[in-house]
């Protein structure tokens, strides 16, 4: 039987994390060796935390080597629990307290302009993520986590859901594909997740299965309230099935496209102009609108080029997308600004709606500005722009009531 395991990370570039080496022994009691950047300030409390953890799992004899680069307590807890559960079988979960302010729900139609990916096994990026005001944060268990680290990432993501304040961002988790993904759900769903991203979707059946599994877990844990889904379409087949996926279950609120995998599937290069994915993107937008869900564009991967990001986001908006993924916090404001209505656009909308109201009052059947006739869909679109602007506090004199 295996009796030694190592979890977590260390190294010159590792921050806010720790590496834990746990060796179970048959005697000799508990020996803890702590190397820590913050030993002078927190040495005793770190050692005590580990003792408490070992005691919780009923471990009486072990050697623990901890190499700490400034991990917060919830990270230490996740690393230890992952180590323990690699060596012994137990049903107990060593949970840090759930912050009260982390209990909030989401809404079907909330904005999803920007959603920030956080690699699920990298604690240093988690703590301040919400401060950059993304519409959503995604704790990612899928592609950003190395296969060997999948197990420990689940504990870290779970603890982050309980302990990290994301300042009102929609709380999202991207699970793995298939069985691994269903297991992921067990770990995260009891800890107030708003939305699950399902990667590499190619059929409606896939989403129905995830939704069924999720419902079971929520029921078992007596959790009520909505859990939303955002399927990610990343293949030629997925694109063909976009509408089926978007309308698979009622709690799908958005569908996203993943262009790295999609272009790979097509066997073409992904370019900044994106001509190679024009069909897929338009198909996705159309399917989403038909199913009354939000179409969300892929991430933009050059994090240093804010101008190109701005241009890409503007194009994305012009296609009908209602958001993009972010892989760097500095992308958030650029994307938000690009998806918000422009000044001219807003002024025009205000003018149109004003003309519409006046026509209504006068009992006129036809709306016109000057000599130009305004069709009902134009009025409808103008109203949507104003609604958006109101929610974003872009109309002078309006205040935010949320």
């Amino acid at each position: 039987m295996k009796n030694i395991v190592v979890t977590g990370n260390k190294g010159p570039r590792v921050r806010s994390d720790c590496e834990v080496r746990l060796e179970l022994r048959s005697g000799g009691g508990i020996i803890i060796n702590l190397e820590s950047k913050v030993k002078a300030m927190y040495g005793n409390s770190i050692t005590n935390l580990y003792r408490e953890g070992l005691d919780y799992f009923g471990i009486k004899n072990a050697v623990l080597d901890i190499d700490d680069s400034g991990a917060l307590p919830f990270v230490h807890m996740a690393r230890l629990e992952a180590a323990v559960k690699s060596l012994i079988k137990t049903d107990k979960n060593w949970l840090p307290p759930l912050l009260e302010k982390n209990i909030y729900s989401s809404a079907r139609n909330r904005f999803r302009f920007s959603r920030l990916y956080l690699p699920g096994n990298t604690p240093s990026m988690m703590l301040n993520a919400g401060l950059h005001s993304p519409d959503g944060i995604i704790l990612d268990l899928e592609d950003s986590v190395a296969p060997a680290k999948k197990h420990e990432a689940r504990f870290l993501v779970r603890n982050a859901l309980r302990q990290v304040d994301f300042y009102g961002a929609e709380r999202m988790v991207r699970i793995n594909q298939g069985e691994k993904g269903y297991e992921d759900l067990q770990y995260v769903l009891p800890h107030n997740v708003n939305l699950i991203l399902v990667p590499k979707c190619e059929s409606g059946e896939q989403i129905r299965e995830v939704a069924k599994r999720a419902e079971n877990i929520l029921d078992q844990n007596n959790i009520t309230g909505d859990l939303f889904f955002m399927p990610i379409i990343e293949s030629a087949m997925g694109v063909e099935k976009a509408f089926e996926i978007a309308s698979s279950v009622k709690n799908v609120v958005a569908i996203a496209i993943g262009l790295e995998d999609y272009t790979a599937d097509l066997g073409v290069q992904r370019t900044n102009e994106g001509k190679e994915s024009l069909f897929a993107r338009m198909r996705l937008v159309n399917a989403a609108k038909a199913a009354r869900v939000q179409p969300i564009d892929s991430v933009f991967s050059d994090v240093s080029d804010m101008e190109a990001l701005r241009t890409t986001a503007m194009i994305s908006k012009s296609y009908g997308f209602e958001g993009m993924g972010c892989i760097h916090p500095r992308q958030i404001q650029v994307i938000k600004a690009a998806f918000a209505p422009e000044k001219d656009e807003l002024n025009k909308a205000l003018e149109i709606v004003k003309a519409f109201r006046e026509a209504e009052e006068k009992g006129l059947g036809v709306v016109s500005i000057g000599s130009k006739m305004i069709d009902p869909p134009v009025v409808h679109r103008a109203m949507r722009i104003i609604e958006l602007a109101e929610k974003l506090n872009l109309i002078p004199g309006e205040t935010d009531n949320n």
């Binding site: 921050r15 913050v38 002078a40 991990a71 917060l72 240093s124 301040n128 916090p329 500095r330």
Partner: protein, 518 residues
């Protein structure tokens, strides 16, 4: 060896004697004003110097011998070459070869490249260091290995110590990227070009013997003469003074860290909301990544508002130079040049002016420039709930940074410290700073990613930003938030021996640093 400790006006237990010299405890901001005449060097007569103006000697060792080097003397050097300095190492190799002991080394700052000198601290060539320490030397001193007590001063405080006679420099060794045989020197041209030589100005004027060392000797006259040859005793040619890539190094890059950029953005927004960013304002520009980023946010805001700054004071680099060249800043009053764009601009642009700690910071001048600056954005390792700040030690007690011009810049009209509230579990706002370097009454605003605290003494700033959407909190609230995230730090009580004294700008002792427990 009993050194009486007293509590100074800031409530810190400090020494009353440093390496056998009497020390005055800190008395409060602007309270200590020594009387009498300034220190003056020996009278020299031109009859004693060569008529042809050629003061060259063959090497550093010979220059030291001719300067009359003896055990226990004070030798000064300067940090214009920063982490690319080769001179201090060469110098002490020569001192060591001569068998000289117990030197008081008085650098304007030391860097990791001076790790080479640890052997000379070990063998007694150097008795102790009086100057800012960055990195390995700080670690060495922190662990109690140096014979004497280190003394840390600000750039202005160094000038003060020279002028009021607290430090008598026996031999000043000035590295010059360009010099003539007479001793005129500047930092503008040559392989080791570093911009200006302001930190050596006091030494040239007050040291008993002055040696100029260059790797770029030109025929008389060396123009401009930032250092005047009339103060210089000997000149020496060496093949190489510094490593150019380290002199004008990449330390001056704008941070890419999203969290630091957020801090910088908040800081710039604060300055805007507080009404600081108005036409004709002035600012202190630093070399740290966050400080540089603030400058870039300033640039954007200034363009939007159509305003320009009258002057920027401090370190220059390509970002600041481009603001000068775009007409966003009328003048750069440069104290330290950080990159080749800065050096070029200083050489070519009459609006890019070289300054010295005398003009900018000196306590014994009839005023200085620091209080004329509208806003200074500075760093710190810790701040406490009374806005006191630490800039030299880490929370674990290690002395790892110098003071630089930091204390002097606290006299700016508004002082802002943008600091991450939590840095890998290290909370930046605590009950009491490990080492006091700057009194809270001079520190106006702490900007963190989780909120902005304004010193209650600055009601005007509070009123100015009241109606903004900035996240203003009390410093107590910020401290509690940091503790919620990190946990409450364990109390560190250190009664180890005193290894360093921290001077205030007027020469009084504001705090001491004790040996770390290893």
């Amino acid at each position: 060896m009993a050194n009486k400790m007293v509590k100074n006006a800031a409530g810190r237990e400090v020494v009353t004697e440093i390496n056998g010299q009497k020390a005055v405890p800190y008395q409060g901001v602007g309270k200590y004003k020594p009387e009498g005449r300034k220190y003056a060097p020996w009278i020299s007569s031109c009859a004693d110097y060569p008529d042809n103006g050629d003061k060259r000697v063959s090497n550093i060792r010979e220059a030291l011998v001719k300067a009359g080097i003896k055990d226990g003397m004070t030798i000064s050097t300067h940090h214009h070459f920063r982490n690319g300095d080769l001179l201090a190492n060469m110098l002490f190799d020569a001192v060591h070869e001569l068998g000289i002991k117990d030197i008081r080394w008085f650098p304007s700052a030391s860097f990791p490249c001076h790790e080479h000198l640890i052997q000379y601290l070990d063998d007694g060539t150097i008795h102790h260091i009086e100057g800012s320490m960055n990195g390995p030397l700080g670690r060495y001193v922190s662990e109690g290995k140096m014979k004497g007590i280190a003394v840390l001063r600000s750039h202005g405080g160094r000038y003060q110590a020279v002028q009021d006679g607290e430090v008598e420099i026996d031999i000043a060794v000035i590295g010059a990227p360009m010099a003539d045989p007479f001793g005129n020197a500047n930092g503008l041209e040559g392989d080791s070009a570093c911009g200006l030589l302001g930190f050596a100005l006091a030494d040239s004027q007050y040291a008993n013997r002055v040696i100029v060392v260059t790797d770029n000797m030109v025929p008389f006259p060396c123009i401009p003469w930032q250092i005047q040859g009339n103060y210089v005793d000997f000149t020496v040619e060496v093949p190489r003074l510094g490593l150019p890539e380290e002199i004008v190094s990449g330390t001056t890059k704008i941070t890419k860290s999203p969290d630091r950029l957020l801090l910088a953005e908040l800081t710039a927004k604060f300055c805007d909301a507080a009404g600081i960013l108005k036409d004709g304002f002035s600012f202190q520009s630093g070399a740290g990544g966050t400080s540089l980023a603030v400058g870039e946010f300033f640039r954007t805001l200034m363009k939007e508002k159509g305003i320009k700054a009258r002057f920027a004071r401090g370190g220059s680099n390509k970002y600041l130079v481009s603001m000068l060249e775009e007409g966003l800043v009328d003048y750069i009053l440069d104290g330290q040049t950080f990159d080749l764009d800065g050096v070029r601009s200083m050489r070519e642009n009459p609006r890019h002016v070289w300054t010295s700690p005398f003009t900018s910071y000196n306590y014994h001048g009839k005023g200085n420039f620091a209080p004329l600056v509208d806003v200074a954005i500075l760093g710190a390792t810790e701040v406490d709930i009374n806005f006191n700040a630490n800039v030299v030690t880490h929370s674990d007690g290690y002395l790892l940074h110098g003071i630089g011009g930091w204390q002097n810049c606290l006299f700016s009209k508004t002082v802002i410290l943008p600091l991450p509230l939590v840095r890998d579990r290290v909370p930046v706002i605590i009950d009491r700073v490990t080492t006091l370097c700057g009194p809270g009454e001079l520190i106006d605003v702490i900007v963190t990613e989780r909120g902005i605290a304004i010193n209650p003494l600055r009601k005007d700033l509070m009123d100015a930003v009241r109606n903004s959407d900035l996240p203003v909190k009390t410093i107590q609230e910020l401290k509690e938030e940091a503790e919620r995230l990190c946990g409450r730090p364990e109390k560190l009580y250190n009664d180890g021996k005193v290894i360093a004294a921290i001077k205030w700008v007027d020469g009084t002792v504001i705090d001491v640093v004790r040996k770390v427990k290893v």
